[in-house]
Symmetry: C2
Amino acid sequence: MSPTDASQFPPFGVTVDLVVLTVRDHTLNALTIRRGEPPFQGQWALPGGFVRPDEGLEAAAARELAEETGLDQLPVHLEQLATFGDPGRDPRMRVVSVAYLVLAPDLPAPRPGGDAAGARWSPAAELADGSRLAFDHTRILEEGVERARAKIEYSSLAAAFCPEEFTVGELRRVYEAVWGVALDPRNFHRKVTGTPDFLVPTGGTTTRQGGRPAQLFRRGSAEKLNPPMLRPEP
Amino acid sequence: MSPTDASQFPPFGVTVDLVVLTVRDHTLNALTIRRGEPPFQGQWALPGGFVRPDEGLEAAAARELAEETGLDQLPVHLEQLATFGDPGRDPRMRVVSVAYLVLAPDLPAPRPGGDAAGARWSPAAELADGSRLAFDHTRILEEGVERARAKIEYSSLAAAFCPEEFTVGELRRVYEAVWGVALDPRNFHRKVTGTPDFLVPTGGTTTRQGGRPAQLFRRGSAEKLNPPMLRPEP
DNA sequence: GCTGTTTATCGTCAGGCAGACGACTAAGAT
DNA sequence: ATCTTAGTCGTCTGCCTGACGATAAACAGC
Protein backbone atom coordinates (compact mmCIF):
# COMPACT_ATOMS: atom_id res chain seq x y z
CA MET A 1 0.00 0.00 0.00
CA SER A 2 1.41 3.24 -1.08
CA PRO A 3 1.16 5.39 2.04
CA THR A 4 3.13 2.97 4.19
CA ASP A 5 5.62 1.83 1.57
CA ALA A 6 8.88 3.02 2.99
CA SER A 7 10.52 3.28 -0.40
CA GLN A 8 8.17 6.05 -1.46
CA PHE A 9 7.27 7.86 1.72
CA PRO A 10 6.85 11.60 1.36
CA PRO A 11 9.96 13.30 2.79
CA PHE A 12 9.54 15.99 5.44
CA GLY A 13 11.94 18.29 7.16
CA VAL A 14 11.78 17.99 10.94
CA THR A 15 12.85 20.81 13.21
CA VAL A 16 12.68 21.67 16.87
CA ASP A 17 11.69 25.12 18.05
CA LEU A 18 12.18 26.36 21.58
CA VAL A 19 9.98 28.53 23.74
CA VAL A 20 12.47 29.62 26.40
CA LEU A 21 10.84 31.53 29.24
CA THR A 22 12.24 33.30 32.24
CA VAL A 23 11.15 35.98 34.68
CA ARG A 24 12.99 39.31 34.55
CA ASP A 25 11.90 42.58 36.11
CA HIS A 26 8.64 41.13 37.38
CA THR A 27 7.70 40.14 33.82
CA LEU A 28 7.56 36.92 31.88
CA ASN A 29 10.19 37.07 29.15
CA ALA A 30 10.88 34.87 26.16
CA LEU A 31 14.09 34.30 24.27
CA THR A 32 14.25 35.17 20.58
CA ILE A 33 17.05 35.16 18.08
CA ARG A 34 17.58 37.24 15.00
CA ARG A 35 17.74 35.04 11.95
CA GLY A 36 21.04 35.19 10.12
CA GLU A 37 19.84 33.27 7.07
CA PRO A 38 16.80 33.25 4.82
CA PRO A 39 13.94 32.74 5.00
CA PHE A 40 12.86 35.60 7.28
CA GLN A 41 16.48 36.80 7.42
CA GLY A 42 16.88 39.59 9.94
CA GLN A 43 13.54 38.86 11.62
CA TRP A 44 13.20 37.64 15.15
CA ALA A 45 12.26 34.03 15.70
CA LEU A 46 12.30 31.32 18.29
CA PRO A 47 15.57 29.44 18.57
CA GLY A 48 15.54 26.10 16.80
CA GLY A 49 16.80 24.11 13.88
CA PHE A 50 16.75 20.86 12.00
CA VAL A 51 16.89 17.57 13.82
CA ARG A 52 19.90 15.49 12.81
CA PRO A 53 19.39 12.06 11.29
CA ASP A 54 20.46 10.06 14.34
CA GLU A 55 19.41 12.41 17.06
CA GLY A 56 16.42 12.16 19.37
CA LEU A 57 13.95 15.03 19.46
CA GLU A 58 14.66 16.10 23.01
CA ALA A 59 18.38 15.81 22.38
CA ALA A 60 18.00 18.10 19.39
CA ALA A 61 16.15 20.61 21.54
CA ALA A 62 18.90 20.55 24.16
CA ARG A 63 21.57 20.93 21.49
CA GLU A 64 19.87 23.89 19.85
CA LEU A 65 19.43 25.54 23.23
CA ALA A 66 23.14 25.23 23.88
CA GLU A 67 24.23 26.19 20.37
CA GLU A 68 22.08 29.21 19.79
CA THR A 69 21.97 30.70 23.23
CA GLY A 70 24.80 29.35 25.33
CA LEU A 71 22.29 28.38 28.02
CA ASP A 72 24.07 25.10 28.40
CA GLN A 73 24.46 22.89 31.42
CA LEU A 74 22.03 24.89 33.45
CA PRO A 75 19.30 23.67 35.74
CA VAL A 76 16.50 24.30 33.30
CA HIS A 77 13.23 22.49 32.78
CA LEU A 78 12.64 21.14 29.27
CA GLU A 79 9.44 19.48 28.08
CA GLN A 80 7.76 18.84 24.79
CA LEU A 81 5.09 21.41 24.00
CA ALA A 82 3.33 20.49 20.76
CA THR A 83 4.01 19.85 17.11
CA PHE A 84 3.22 22.21 14.30
CA GLY A 85 3.07 20.94 10.76
CA ASP A 86 0.67 22.94 8.63
CA PRO A 87 1.60 22.81 4.96
CA GLY A 88 3.10 26.15 4.04
CA ARG A 89 4.36 27.11 7.46
CA ASP A 90 7.87 27.08 6.03
CA PRO A 91 8.21 28.65 2.57
CA ARG A 92 11.10 26.38 1.62
CA MET A 93 9.42 23.02 1.94
CA ARG A 94 7.21 20.88 4.07
CA VAL A 95 8.54 21.12 7.60
CA VAL A 96 7.13 19.67 10.79
CA SER A 97 8.35 21.41 13.91
CA VAL A 98 8.32 19.86 17.34
CA ALA A 99 8.17 22.69 19.86
CA TYR A 100 9.76 22.41 23.29
CA LEU A 101 9.16 24.53 26.35
CA VAL A 102 12.11 25.60 28.46
CA LEU A 103 11.76 27.29 31.83
CA ALA A 104 14.92 28.88 33.14
CA PRO A 105 15.92 31.11 36.06
CA ASP A 106 16.94 34.65 35.30
CA LEU A 107 20.22 34.37 33.47
CA PRO A 108 22.95 36.61 32.16
CA ALA A 109 22.43 37.95 28.68
CA PRO A 110 22.23 35.15 26.17
CA ARG A 111 25.26 34.59 23.97
CA PRO A 112 24.13 34.11 20.38
CA GLY A 113 25.78 31.33 18.44
CA GLY A 114 25.14 29.02 15.55
CA ASP A 115 22.92 30.62 12.93
CA ALA A 116 21.76 33.41 15.20
CA ALA A 117 22.78 36.97 14.41
CA GLY A 118 21.50 38.10 17.78
CA ALA A 119 19.69 36.85 20.85
CA ARG A 120 17.66 38.69 23.46
CA TRP A 121 14.98 38.46 26.07
CA SER A 122 11.72 40.28 25.45
CA PRO A 123 8.52 40.46 27.45
CA ALA A 124 6.28 37.66 26.28
CA ALA A 125 3.30 40.00 26.06
CA GLU A 126 5.09 42.25 23.55
CA LEU A 127 6.18 39.33 21.42
CA ALA A 128 2.68 37.94 21.31
CA ASP A 129 1.16 41.28 20.38
CA GLY A 130 3.24 43.68 18.42
CA SER A 131 6.24 42.05 16.92
CA ARG A 132 5.79 39.59 14.14
CA LEU A 133 7.93 36.58 14.72
CA ALA A 134 9.05 34.48 11.77
CA PHE A 135 7.08 31.42 10.60
CA ASP A 136 4.20 30.56 12.95
CA HIS A 137 6.36 31.28 15.97
CA THR A 138 3.93 33.74 17.51
CA ARG A 139 1.39 30.99 17.86
CA ILE A 140 3.98 28.56 19.23
CA LEU A 141 5.04 31.16 21.78
CA GLU A 142 1.45 31.69 22.85
CA GLU A 143 0.94 28.01 23.40
CA GLY A 144 4.13 27.83 25.42
CA VAL A 145 3.10 30.73 27.62
CA GLU A 146 -0.31 29.24 28.17
CA ARG A 147 1.24 25.88 29.06
CA ALA A 148 3.51 27.54 31.61
CA ARG A 149 0.60 29.48 33.09
CA ALA A 150 -1.50 26.37 33.43
CA LYS A 151 1.24 24.14 34.74
CA ILE A 152 2.45 26.23 37.65
CA GLU A 153 -1.06 25.94 39.01
CA TYR A 154 -0.78 22.30 39.90
CA SER A 155 2.94 21.56 39.90
CA SER A 156 6.11 22.76 41.50
CA LEU A 157 7.33 24.02 38.14
CA ALA A 158 7.38 27.68 39.15
CA ALA A 159 10.54 26.93 41.08
CA ALA A 160 12.25 26.27 37.74
CA PHE A 161 12.19 30.04 37.27
CA CYS A 162 14.06 30.57 40.53
CA PRO A 163 17.71 30.09 41.42
CA GLU A 164 18.54 26.98 43.37
CA GLU A 165 17.91 28.72 46.67
CA PHE A 166 15.05 31.16 46.80
CA THR A 167 12.63 32.80 49.19
CA VAL A 168 8.89 32.48 49.40
CA GLY A 169 8.60 36.05 48.18
CA GLU A 170 10.73 35.34 45.13
CA LEU A 171 8.57 32.35 44.29
CA ARG A 172 5.47 34.48 44.71
CA ARG A 173 6.85 37.07 42.31
CA VAL A 174 7.25 34.30 39.75
CA TYR A 175 3.57 33.46 39.99
CA GLU A 176 2.68 37.13 39.82
CA ALA A 177 4.80 37.67 36.72
CA VAL A 178 3.61 34.56 34.89
CA TRP A 179 -0.04 35.13 35.68
CA GLY A 180 0.08 38.92 35.62
CA VAL A 181 -1.81 39.23 38.88
CA ALA A 182 -1.06 40.26 42.45
CA LEU A 183 -1.24 37.56 45.10
CA ASP A 184 -1.70 38.01 48.82
CA PRO A 185 1.73 37.44 50.39
CA ARG A 186 0.25 36.00 53.57
CA ASN A 187 -2.03 33.48 51.93
CA PHE A 188 0.67 32.53 49.45
CA HIS A 189 3.12 31.95 52.26
CA ARG A 190 0.64 29.76 54.08
CA LYS A 191 -0.09 27.74 50.97
CA VAL A 192 3.46 26.94 49.86
CA THR A 193 4.91 26.39 53.31
CA GLY A 194 1.93 24.29 54.31
CA THR A 195 2.17 21.87 51.40
CA PRO A 196 4.28 18.89 52.50
CA ASP A 197 7.59 18.37 50.67
CA PHE A 198 7.00 21.36 48.44
CA LEU A 199 9.75 23.54 49.92
CA VAL A 200 12.75 22.46 51.96
CA PRO A 201 14.32 25.13 54.19
CA THR A 202 18.06 25.38 53.72
CA GLY A 203 18.59 27.13 57.03
CA GLY A 204 19.99 30.29 55.48
CA THR A 205 18.35 33.67 55.09
CA THR A 206 18.77 36.54 52.69
CA THR A 207 17.89 40.20 52.46
CA ARG A 208 18.52 40.53 48.73
CA GLN A 209 14.93 41.67 48.23
CA GLY A 210 15.22 44.25 51.00
CA GLY A 211 13.16 44.34 54.15
CA ARG A 212 13.17 41.72 56.81
CA PRO A 213 15.45 38.75 56.15
CA ALA A 214 13.66 35.89 54.45
CA GLN A 215 14.21 32.18 54.84
CA LEU A 216 15.86 30.41 51.93
CA PHE A 217 14.31 27.26 50.48
CA ARG A 218 15.15 24.63 47.93
CA ARG A 219 12.63 22.74 45.78
CA GLY A 220 11.18 19.81 47.67
CA SER A 221 10.40 16.37 46.36
CA ALA A 222 6.73 17.10 45.71
CA GLU A 223 6.17 17.54 41.98
CA LYS A 224 2.45 18.05 42.14
CA LEU A 225 0.59 20.68 44.08
CA ASN A 226 -2.63 19.29 45.40
CA PRO A 227 -4.93 21.11 45.87
CA PRO A 228 -3.65 23.44 43.15
CA MET A 229 -2.67 27.04 43.51
CA LEU A 230 -5.71 29.00 42.39
CA ARG A 231 -5.26 31.56 39.68
CA PRO A 232 -7.38 34.66 40.36
CA GLU A 233 -9.85 35.63 37.67
CA PRO A 234 -9.94 39.43 37.40
CA MET B 1 24.92 26.77 7.77
CA SER B 2 24.41 23.21 6.88
CA PRO B 3 21.61 22.17 9.21
CA THR B 4 19.24 24.86 7.97
CA ASP B 5 20.15 24.61 4.32
CA ALA B 6 16.94 23.42 2.78
CA SER B 7 18.69 21.75 -0.11
CA GLN B 8 20.37 19.25 2.16
CA PHE B 9 17.98 18.79 5.05
CA PRO B 10 17.81 15.26 6.45
CA PRO B 11 14.59 13.64 5.22
CA PHE B 12 12.23 12.10 7.75
CA GLY B 13 9.06 10.12 7.45
CA VAL B 14 6.16 11.69 9.34
CA THR B 15 3.21 9.65 10.53
CA VAL B 16 0.20 10.13 12.76
CA ASP B 17 -0.82 7.50 15.30
CA LEU B 18 -4.15 7.46 17.06
CA VAL B 19 -5.03 6.58 20.61
CA VAL B 20 -8.78 6.02 20.28
CA LEU B 21 -10.49 5.54 23.62
CA THR B 22 -14.03 4.66 24.58
CA VAL B 23 -15.86 3.23 27.57
CA ARG B 24 -17.41 -0.21 27.14
CA ASP B 25 -18.68 -2.49 29.89
CA HIS B 26 -17.56 -0.13 32.63
CA THR B 27 -13.99 -0.28 31.32
CA LEU B 28 -11.74 2.05 29.38
CA ASN B 29 -11.07 0.50 25.97
CA ALA B 30 -8.65 1.38 23.22
CA LEU B 31 -8.83 0.69 19.53
CA THR B 32 -6.13 -1.39 17.87
CA ILE B 33 -5.71 -2.73 14.39
CA ARG B 34 -3.91 -5.79 13.14
CA ARG B 35 -1.15 -4.80 10.78
CA GLY B 36 -1.58 -6.15 7.28
CA GLU B 37 1.91 -5.21 6.11
CA PRO B 38 5.44 -5.41 7.42
CA PRO B 39 7.00 -4.36 9.65
CA PHE B 40 5.25 -6.01 12.60
CA GLN B 41 2.87 -7.73 10.15
CA GLY B 42 0.13 -9.55 12.02
CA GLN B 43 0.80 -7.70 15.25
CA TRP B 44 -1.63 -5.31 16.88
CA ALA B 45 -0.86 -1.63 16.69
CA LEU B 46 -2.47 1.75 17.02
CA PRO B 47 -4.21 2.99 13.89
CA GLY B 48 -2.16 5.48 11.92
CA GLY B 49 -0.18 6.11 8.80
CA PHE B 50 1.96 8.49 6.83
CA VAL B 51 1.02 12.12 6.49
CA ARG B 52 0.51 13.14 2.89
CA PRO B 53 2.64 15.90 1.39
CA ASP B 54 -0.06 18.56 1.34
CA GLU B 55 -2.09 17.51 4.31
CA GLY B 56 -2.19 19.06 7.78
CA LEU B 57 -1.37 16.89 10.76
CA GLU B 58 -4.83 16.97 12.29
CA ALA B 59 -6.38 16.34 8.89
CA ALA B 60 -4.17 13.30 8.52
CA ALA B 61 -5.32 12.03 11.90
CA ALA B 62 -8.96 12.46 10.95
CA ARG B 63 -8.40 10.73 7.62
CA GLU B 64 -6.65 7.75 9.19
CA LEU B 65 -9.42 7.45 11.73
CA ALA B 66 -11.99 7.28 8.99
CA GLU B 67 -9.98 5.01 6.71
CA GLU B 68 -8.84 2.43 9.17
CA THR B 69 -11.82 2.22 11.45
CA GLY B 70 -14.86 3.69 9.74
CA LEU B 71 -15.43 5.91 12.75
CA ASP B 72 -16.17 8.75 10.42
CA GLN B 73 -18.39 11.77 10.84
CA LEU B 74 -18.99 11.06 14.47
CA PRO B 75 -19.05 13.47 17.36
CA VAL B 76 -15.62 12.56 18.64
CA HIS B 77 -13.03 14.64 20.39
CA LEU B 78 -9.64 14.80 18.69
CA GLU B 79 -6.56 16.51 20.12
CA GLN B 80 -2.86 16.30 19.65
CA LEU B 81 -1.18 14.15 22.26
CA ALA B 82 2.59 14.20 21.79
CA THR B 83 5.26 13.47 19.22
CA PHE B 84 7.55 10.47 19.29
CA GLY B 85 10.70 10.47 17.24
CA ASP B 86 13.42 8.35 18.79
CA PRO B 87 15.86 7.07 16.20
CA GLY B 88 15.15 3.40 15.66
CA ARG B 89 11.50 3.44 16.67
CA ASP B 90 10.67 2.34 13.13
CA PRO B 91 12.96 -0.34 11.68
CA ARG B 92 12.52 0.93 8.14
CA MET B 93 13.84 4.44 8.51
CA ARG B 94 13.75 7.54 10.61
CA VAL B 95 10.11 8.26 11.36
CA VAL B 96 8.61 10.93 13.56
CA SER B 97 5.09 10.14 14.69
CA VAL B 98 2.63 12.74 15.87
CA ALA B 99 0.18 11.00 18.20
CA TYR B 100 -3.43 12.13 18.51
CA LEU B 101 -5.93 11.32 21.20
CA VAL B 102 -9.49 10.50 20.23
CA LEU B 103 -12.32 10.15 22.73
CA ALA B 104 -15.46 8.54 21.38
CA PRO B 105 -18.76 7.31 22.75
CA ASP B 106 -19.40 3.60 22.76
CA LEU B 107 -19.71 2.63 19.13
CA PRO B 108 -20.63 -0.36 17.04
CA ALA B 109 -17.79 -2.71 16.19
CA PRO B 110 -15.15 -0.91 14.16
CA ARG B 111 -14.96 -1.69 10.46
CA PRO B 112 -11.37 -2.26 9.46
CA GLY B 113 -10.22 -0.66 6.24
CA GLY B 114 -7.12 0.63 4.55
CA ASP B 115 -4.06 -1.34 5.59
CA ALA B 116 -5.73 -2.93 8.60
CA ALA B 117 -6.34 -6.68 8.60
CA GLY B 118 -8.56 -6.33 11.65
CA ALA B 119 -9.74 -3.85 14.21
CA ARG B 120 -11.03 -4.29 17.72
CA TRP B 121 -11.58 -2.71 21.08
CA SER B 122 -9.56 -4.00 24.02
CA PRO B 123 -9.40 -2.91 27.63
CA ALA B 124 -6.66 -0.32 27.92
CA ALA B 125 -5.24 -2.02 30.98
CA GLU B 126 -4.65 -5.27 29.07
CA LEU B 127 -3.01 -3.49 26.17
CA ALA B 128 -0.67 -1.62 28.45
CA ASP B 129 0.32 -4.75 30.34
CA GLY B 130 0.28 -8.01 28.52
CA SER B 131 0.07 -7.58 24.81
CA ARG B 132 3.01 -6.12 22.99
CA LEU B 133 1.90 -3.53 20.53
CA ALA B 134 4.02 -2.78 17.49
CA PHE B 135 6.63 0.00 17.48
CA ASP B 136 6.53 2.12 20.64
CA HIS B 137 2.76 2.09 20.63
CA THR B 138 2.45 0.76 24.17
CA ARG B 139 4.10 3.89 25.46
CA ILE B 140 1.98 6.11 23.23
CA LEU B 141 -1.13 4.39 24.52
CA GLU B 142 -0.06 4.91 28.11
CA GLU B 143 0.46 8.60 27.54
CA GLY B 144 -2.94 8.85 25.91
CA VAL B 145 -4.66 7.11 28.79
CA GLU B 146 -2.89 9.30 31.29
CA ARG B 147 -3.88 12.41 29.35
CA ALA B 148 -7.51 11.33 29.35
CA ARG B 149 -7.40 10.58 33.07
CA ALA B 150 -5.90 13.95 33.85
CA LYS B 151 -8.09 15.95 31.55
CA ILE B 152 -11.50 14.81 32.71
CA GLU B 153 -10.54 16.19 36.11
CA TYR B 154 -10.75 19.79 35.08
CA SER B 155 -12.71 19.79 31.84
CA SER B 156 -16.02 18.66 30.48
CA LEU B 157 -14.25 16.13 28.29
CA ALA B 158 -15.75 13.10 29.98
CA ALA B 159 -18.96 13.86 28.14
CA ALA B 160 -17.12 13.02 24.91
CA PHE B 161 -17.41 9.38 25.99
CA CYS B 162 -21.19 9.68 26.27
CA PRO B 163 -23.88 9.78 23.61
CA GLU B 164 -25.34 13.16 22.84
CA GLU B 165 -27.94 12.82 25.55
CA PHE B 166 -26.89 11.14 28.76
CA THR B 167 -27.74 10.89 32.43
CA VAL B 168 -25.73 11.93 35.43
CA GLY B 169 -25.26 8.26 36.28
CA GLU B 170 -23.88 7.49 32.84
CA LEU B 171 -21.44 10.33 33.13
CA ARG B 172 -20.41 9.08 36.55
CA ARG B 173 -19.75 5.62 35.15
CA VAL B 174 -17.40 7.21 32.63
CA TYR B 175 -15.34 8.74 35.41
CA GLU B 176 -15.39 5.46 37.29
CA ALA B 177 -14.21 3.51 34.25
CA VAL B 178 -11.50 5.96 33.25
CA TRP B 179 -10.16 6.36 36.77
CA GLY B 180 -10.89 2.84 37.92
CA VAL B 181 -12.50 4.00 41.14
CA ALA B 182 -15.97 4.17 42.64
CA LEU B 183 -17.50 7.59 43.16
CA ASP B 184 -20.29 8.54 45.50
CA PRO B 185 -23.39 8.99 43.33
CA ARG B 186 -24.83 11.70 45.57
CA ASN B 187 -21.74 13.86 45.75
CA PHE B 188 -21.11 13.40 42.04
CA HIS B 189 -24.65 14.44 41.24
CA ARG B 190 -24.30 17.53 43.40
CA LYS B 191 -21.00 18.46 41.78
CA VAL B 192 -21.98 18.18 38.13
CA THR B 193 -25.47 19.61 38.45
CA GLY B 194 -24.18 22.42 40.63
CA THR B 195 -21.55 23.62 38.17
CA PRO B 196 -23.09 26.35 36.01
CA ASP B 197 -23.39 25.60 32.29
CA PHE B 198 -21.82 22.18 32.68
CA LEU B 199 -24.97 20.19 31.95
CA VAL B 200 -28.10 21.34 30.16
CA PRO B 201 -31.27 19.37 30.89
CA THR B 202 -33.07 18.29 27.74
CA GLY B 203 -36.35 17.72 29.52
CA GLY B 204 -36.52 14.02 28.74
CA THR B 205 -35.86 11.09 31.00
CA THR B 206 -34.72 7.53 30.47
CA THR B 207 -34.70 4.24 32.34
CA ARG B 208 -32.13 2.54 30.12
CA GLN B 209 -29.91 1.98 33.13
CA GLY B 210 -32.78 0.48 35.15
CA GLY B 211 -34.13 1.87 38.39
CA ARG B 212 -35.79 5.18 38.78
CA PRO B 213 -36.03 7.29 35.62
CA ALA B 214 -33.11 9.65 35.23
CA GLN B 215 -33.04 13.10 33.70
CA LEU B 216 -31.33 13.43 30.36
CA PHE B 217 -28.69 16.12 29.81
CA ARG B 218 -26.62 17.52 27.01
CA ARG B 219 -23.12 18.99 27.32
CA GLY B 220 -23.28 22.58 28.43
CA SER B 221 -21.15 25.45 27.24
CA ALA B 222 -18.67 25.22 30.12
CA GLU B 223 -15.48 23.65 28.89
CA LYS B 224 -13.60 23.89 32.14
CA LEU B 225 -14.58 22.46 35.47
CA ASN B 226 -13.57 24.80 38.24
CA PRO B 227 -12.94 23.69 40.91
CA PRO B 228 -11.93 20.38 39.34
CA MET B 229 -13.44 17.01 39.97
CA LEU B 230 -11.20 15.37 42.53
CA ARG B 231 -9.75 11.98 41.70
CA PRO B 232 -9.64 9.74 44.77
CA GLU B 233 -6.21 8.43 45.73
CA PRO B 234 -6.28 4.74 46.67
C1' DG C 1 -50.76 -6.22 44.25
C1' DC C 2 -46.83 -6.55 47.33
C1' DT C 3 -42.00 -6.74 48.19
C1' DG C 4 -37.29 -6.50 47.27
C1' DT C 5 -33.82 -4.48 44.15
C1' DT C 6 -31.92 -0.93 41.54
C1' DT C 7 -30.93 3.67 40.35
C1' DA C 8 -31.80 8.64 40.97
C1' DT C 9 -32.14 12.66 43.75
C1' DC C 10 -32.41 15.66 47.91
C1' DG C 11 -30.59 16.89 52.51
C1' DT C 12 -27.50 17.28 56.54
C1' DC C 13 -23.29 17.79 58.89
C1' DA C 14 -18.36 18.24 59.94
C1' DG C 15 -13.72 19.29 58.29
C1' DG C 16 -10.48 21.50 55.17
C1' DC C 17 -9.01 25.17 52.52
C1' DA C 18 -8.99 29.85 50.48
C1' DG C 19 -9.80 34.89 50.55
C1' DA C 20 -9.70 39.01 53.33
C1' DC C 21 -7.21 41.28 56.44
C1' DG C 22 -4.99 42.58 61.28
C1' DA C 23 -0.69 42.41 63.75
C1' DC C 24 4.01 41.95 64.58
C1' DT C 25 9.12 41.43 63.14
C1' DA C 26 13.51 42.74 61.29
C1' DA C 27 16.30 44.64 58.12
C1' DG C 28 17.93 49.13 55.30
C1' DA C 29 17.12 54.21 54.14
C1' DT C 30 16.71 59.08 55.54
C1' DA D 1 14.93 57.85 65.66
C1' DT D 2 11.65 57.19 62.28
C1' DC D 3 10.07 55.55 57.86
C1' DT D 4 9.79 52.07 54.50
C1' DT D 5 9.97 47.53 52.84
C1' DA D 6 9.35 42.69 53.09
C1' DG D 7 8.46 38.58 55.72
C1' DT D 8 5.76 35.77 58.95
C1' DC D 9 2.02 34.40 62.13
C1' DG D 10 -3.05 34.53 63.28
C1' DT D 11 -8.06 35.00 62.90
C1' DC D 12 -12.47 34.75 60.81
C1' DT D 13 -15.83 33.59 57.39
C1' DG D 14 -17.64 31.25 53.55
C1' DC D 15 -17.39 27.56 50.13
C1' DC D 16 -16.60 22.97 48.85
C1' DT D 17 -15.98 18.09 49.70
C1' DG D 18 -16.53 13.56 51.78
C1' DA D 19 -19.52 10.65 54.45
C1' DC D 20 -23.84 9.17 54.77
C1' DG D 21 -29.19 9.19 55.87
C1' DA D 22 -33.58 9.41 53.53
C1' DT D 23 -36.91 9.45 49.89
C1' DA D 24 -38.55 8.53 45.02
C1' DA D 25 -39.65 5.88 41.02
C1' DA D 26 -39.00 2.35 38.03
C1' DC D 27 -38.72 -3.14 37.36
C1' DA D 28 -38.65 -8.29 38.66
C1' DG D 29 -40.64 -11.96 40.84
C1' DC D 30 -43.91 -14.01 43.72
